[in-house]
Symmetry: C2
Subunit: 453 residues, 2 copies
């Protein structure tokens, strides 16, 4: 049995719905279908979820959301019309939305979750209606009735352990089940959404709970690329990678799948298959527990900018028990979360995302580090990029670092930082942002010039 | 004016004392002479300080220290005889020792400090007598009278700020001053020693306090070598290196100068000159604030074994504010001090000296990390060596990492960890202990094969 999730662009129009239908019915194992809200039809289009957020915010500011609400209804109506669905489908969606907008607004973030969740919820009803219209036994599943219990954290809900047990009984259901992604219900029966793009998470939870053989994730790319195609033209596609490789890559800009979405599938050892709704014949990318690594040490290169480093030096720091912990506690007091802490003998740097800082916070922490930790020097360096070079094949591969660092040297990129040794499947380079693209290209050339991944 | 310190082997015999005398009188700038206790005359010999520690421990266990005490006295007597010193010199030393051994033993560590300090104190008296015997105006300086005030920390005293002001007046003293190394006096007038090999510290404090032009440190090697001569035969000698380079090298096994000893000289910007008592014509090694670096990026390679790593992984660790701090706090609770914390996305390794661990502590911390931090995996890897590659020249040198890592790859050494980016003048490699020597040799070959440092 397979759990098959479709992203927003796969459900953006009647034409797309037809593709989804063909994909689902072409394989009798595709029994549980998880749907997003309708996404963009073209680059400048607005996703239904974004329209809904605007509606909700207008409401909360006591403004009239009518115009935006109509835009939402037009999206559903356009799909229904393309698909020749009966009027009742749209009437039901409209009634649901009116009902939601009339509900309690005293807890703003809960109201926002209720409105956001409608995008997936109503789309699931519409998709189920379409499948039935095409003569297939298909049914919308209400996540509340199915038992998708989540923690009461608005915009960041987590599935509760009981959810997995309860959802299992969906296996006995006849026909195809259309399950709305992105949200669940608290024990009090209120709607709470996962973090953004959370439909991926719903699919993964269902795959785990139903003990599926495969979790298919249909999106709008043929495969996960080995490097950002905006940096390297026509990069190699990845046929298969491990959960860990995917996670390491996703850290620095690989956004094909939601981070948290891998967890339930990973815990149950269920393979994840990324495929393209618009080109279902393409082999796609499989995310698995173990893979052959016969194609060289590196499977992918990711990079992200917007980092900075706080450098702290103090003579004989090395002898001072508790120095590192105190330093991290100062950052925590300012609400800063850090990424890495490379250290020398008498110095340590803390790498963090620089959007967390402003002039005041910078001055504060510099001050505290100097006064409370008696540091000799504290300085902040901005505009750094981190480059992740990832691959199970580098686990015990002598010489991968030599190749990567030589490629950077040849491209005249100065390495500001190297963090290697904790993860066995990645190495991380810090470079100046201006060098980021050149660095990524150089490493790609080195490892992918003549390799098929 | 120069402060000139002589180590234990430079003062181990009358013959050595004659060398010291010739060195001091050959330069009228050598006005303040800091002396250690007599050291080893040959490889199997016992240092006077070690004999004194044995004496003190016997006393504290209510055993008779007579035999060991005689061994101490024999050392002084042998030197006095070789140097034709009058009997009173030895009688005075004996009376001093008897006096110390009869003093209060209720605070064991203070008693131990009092006894240990006698080695330098009495040797300074002996050296001063010898200089006078040779017709030179020389005087023993009592650190208490001179104002060397230290914190009341047995075996780990720190000079107090007032000490620097008080010691300055020594400049006005006529003749050559013979100052005992290794200890000072608390504000209550009690003896406290610096950490072991602390005579280097005394010399550095005096150089700072007296605003000396140079701090000379005479020992028994011609120079600081660029790599451990037990690993690479006849390594290049270092003519000049910066305080920072010296500090980074000293971390991993370069033991020419005591770590803490660099601080006072460094703070006052006073160059330190390492020279050989047995070959004063050799140019030695100068430790300075800045140097030319025209001889390639690397000045020295040091390595040390006996490290281990605690690897902790947890999916989405990266999102958890405070994880790192909590992990370090657990280690601190067990009294463990750590060296480095390389990190991946969802994992972090803590590198520490493994002599701090035993089976019980290991089990405890693994348990706490699993239970309190809900880590997915915790494992400890033993028998790691750290290799420091040091040089001001690598500050902005593109390609140093490429050369070092390529050399390791060619030598089939797997790099377990790289820590680079906080210190601008070093890079650190973690390798398995069995690979340590091969790794050091390979890096040495790469950077020193055709270079004169």
């Amino acid at each position: 049995m397979k759990v098959t999730k479709f992203g927003g662009s796969s459900l953006a129009s009647g034409k797309q719905l037809e593709k989804v239908f063909q994909i689902v019915v072409s394989d009798p194992e595709r029994k549980v279908v998880v749907v997003s809200a309708p996404g963009k039809r073209f680059a400048e289009d607005t996703k239904v979820t974004d329209l809904l957020i605007e509606c909700a915010e207008k409401c909360l500011q006591n403004q009239n959301p009518k115009e935006k609400l109509e835009a939402v209804m037009e999206r559903y109506a356009a799909i229904a019309e393309e698909c020749n669905l009966p009027d009742e489908v749209i009437q039901e969606i409209y009634a649901d939305l009116v009902n939601r907008f009339e509900s309690d607004k005293s807890k703003q973030d809960r109201f926002l979750d209720l409105i956001k969740a409608s995008g997936e919820d109503n789309n699931a009803k519409l998709v189920a209606a379409y499948f039935r219209e095409r003569g297939i036994d298909a049914e919308y599943v209400n996540p509340k009735e199915a038992g998708l219990l989540v923690s009461a954290e608005p915009g960041n809900a987590q599935a509760l352990p009981e959810a997995y047990e309860r959802l299992y009984s969906l296996r006995d259901h006849p026909g195809i089940l259309i399950f709305p992604g992105f949200f669940g219900y608290s024990e009090e029966g209120e709607v709470f959404t996962f973090s953004r793009s959370g439909s991926d998470i719903t699919g993964s939870i269902l795959a785990n709970a139903l003990k599926a053989d495969l979790y298919e994730n249909f999106t709008d790319v043929d495969a996960v690329y080995s490097v950002n195609p905006y940096i390297v033209k026509k990069p190699k596609e990845i046929k298969e990678l491990t959960y860990r490789e995917m996670r390491e890559l996703s850290y620095a800009g690989f956004t094909v799948l939601h981070d948290e979405a891998l967890v339930p599938a990973f815990r149950a050892g269920i393979p994840v298959h990324i495929k393209n709704t618009n080109n279902p014949a393409a082999p796609g990318t499989r995310i698995v527990n173990e893979r052959d690594n016969t194609n060289g040490p590196v499977i992918g290169i990711a990079s992200d900018e917007g980092f900075c480093s706080i450098y702290v030096s103090k003579y004989l720091m090395n002898r001072e028990v508790g120095f590192g912990r105190k330093l991290l506690a100062i950052l925590e007091d300012s609400g800063l979360s850090y990424e890495h802490t490379p250290s020398g003998i008498d110095d340590v740097s803390v790498i963090l995302r620089e959007n967390q800082l402003d002039e005041k916070i910078e001055a504060d922490i510099i001050n505290r580090i100097k006064n409370e930790l008696h540091a000799d020097e504290v300085k902040i360096e901005h505009s750094l990029a981190l480059i992740m070079v990832v691959g199970e094949g580098m686990r015990h591969n002598v010489g991968t670092m030599a190749r990567a660092s030589k490629a950077l040297a040849k491209a005249s990129v100065n390495i500001e930082m190297i963090n290697q040794g904790s993860s066995e499947v990645s190495m991380m380079f810090g470079v100046k942002e201006v060098d980021e693209k050149r660095a990524v290209k150089a490493i790609y050339e080195e490892f992918f010039a003549a390799v098929t991944v």
